[in-house]
Amino acid sequence: MNELKRTPLYEIHRSLNAKLVDFGGWEMPIQYPSGIIAEHLAVRTGVGLFDVSHMGEFNVKGKGAYEFIDGIVPSNLAKIANNQAMYSALLNEKGTFIDDLLIYRYSQDHFLLVVNASNIEKDFLWLTSQLKSNDVELTNISSETGLLAIQGPKTVEILSPVIKHDLKQIPYYHFLSTQLAGVDILLSRTGYTGEDGFEIYCPSSSCEDLWTYLSNLSPIVKPAGLGARNTLRLEARMSLYGHEIDDSTNPFEAGLKWIVDMDKPQFMGKQALVEIASKPLSSKLVGFKTLEKRDIPRDGMIIYSSEGPVGRVTSAGPSPTTKENIGLAYVPLPLSSIGSRLEIDIRGRRAPIELVKVPFYQRKRS
């Protein structure tokens, strides 16, 4: 077995008595002693601080940077201006997912791509193979880049006094190059929790200092692990690679049609998506809940109709916010309407489920 990789915050997690687990080859904090529920609720009501330095970052620089990225991703890159970010994907020729990613635009000839930790090498090799001209410089800066996520309704209140820019000037999915505690950072109003907040890209060497600095800003800032990150993103119905999306799913069935601009003359996987779009979808990602407290759905369980097995759970579990047992699953399109009743196999026992509106949780926006 390969040695697990560690983020620059490994020693801090140990000192906080985090429970460390193998997360896609990384030794990451799944939770701190407070537990997933407390960490989850801290993010919903206060501020949670996450180490997500395992995520991958690629710099794309040069005269051909815009054309290179726009020629690959299904989204229209013209939709974002400088200092703006977008959620998109890398698709293969079949129109299915190699990965999902964030694209940050510094300028027409400088972008930052942020990819999933477990896909860093695969994505980088694939992107490199797509380079056709020498006016694009693609660099994997993952190991020298740290990433902290500070998330929750009180984040702006906590961060405002220590950032010299007015945070109101950074709308959702916008970012700024600024400083925090004397360290150059990229401050991005993005997140993976369904809550207001920021993601802070910093040099790996400054990660520990910034974590400590942010933790000490206020006692309401609580460390939160990947366990809470998962329950938070599930409630917000955000996709996780390897669960809702992978190389067998396309953006239409995954509910990510909005990242695809079919009017673009060309992007990777377009031909396949044209074909897929010409026919009714075979399945669709839906949200569901169980009806009994004891019926707790889990990833990978099978969904049944009266006819037999019809679908598969991609992510599921107890929701700390709604206190219901929730999940996402692929089911055939004719069975996918809200309110439909189906069944789930819970370790050999059939339990009823009801399809419900997603997201399961939506924050009140001011």
Binding site: K19, G35, I36, G227, R294, I296, R298, G317, P318, P320
Partner: protein, 127 residues
């Protein structure tokens, strides 16, 4: 004290307070920590019987689910109904408020571990 000396332990991380008339069973400190926040405990009907090693229930946490294994042959005489509303007691007080079943022992449990033996097992499992 994480592993009270008056209890006996299994490799599956249950504890049993052995008594010829009525024994108490729950899960250990190590087990509750491994599970994380417990959200549901599924317990058997009073009167049901289980062989040693048989699955008498399940405990569900936010992250995962785990079976509960009988430490001995037993008949269930009472279940802790309060755990329905307070599954978090399993995390807070695994040897006290979060006892799971009261049983009539139907075997002796000579193969059970002492606290010292169990602590040795834990030490070897957590590298």
């Amino acid at each position: 004290m994480s592993y009270p000396p008056n209890l006996k332990y299994t490799k599956d991380h249950e504890w049993i307070q052995m008594d010829d008339a009525q024994s108490l069973i729950g899960i250990t400190q190590y087990a509750q920590e491994a599970l994380g926040d417990v959200v549901f405990v599924d317990l058997p009907e009073v009167g049901s019987t289980f062989k040693s090693g048989g699955v008498f229930g399940t405990v569900e946490s936010v992250k995962t689910v785990s079976d509960l294994f009988s430490p001995i042959d037993l008949e269930v005489t009472e279940v802790n109904a309060e755990l329905k509303d307070h599954p978090e007691w399993v995390n807070e007080d695994p040897y006290g408020k979060a006892w799971m079943i009261k049983v009539k022992p139907l075997s002796s449990g000579t193969d059970l571990m002492s606290a010292a033996e169990y602590e040795k097992l834990i030490a070897s499992e957590s590298h």
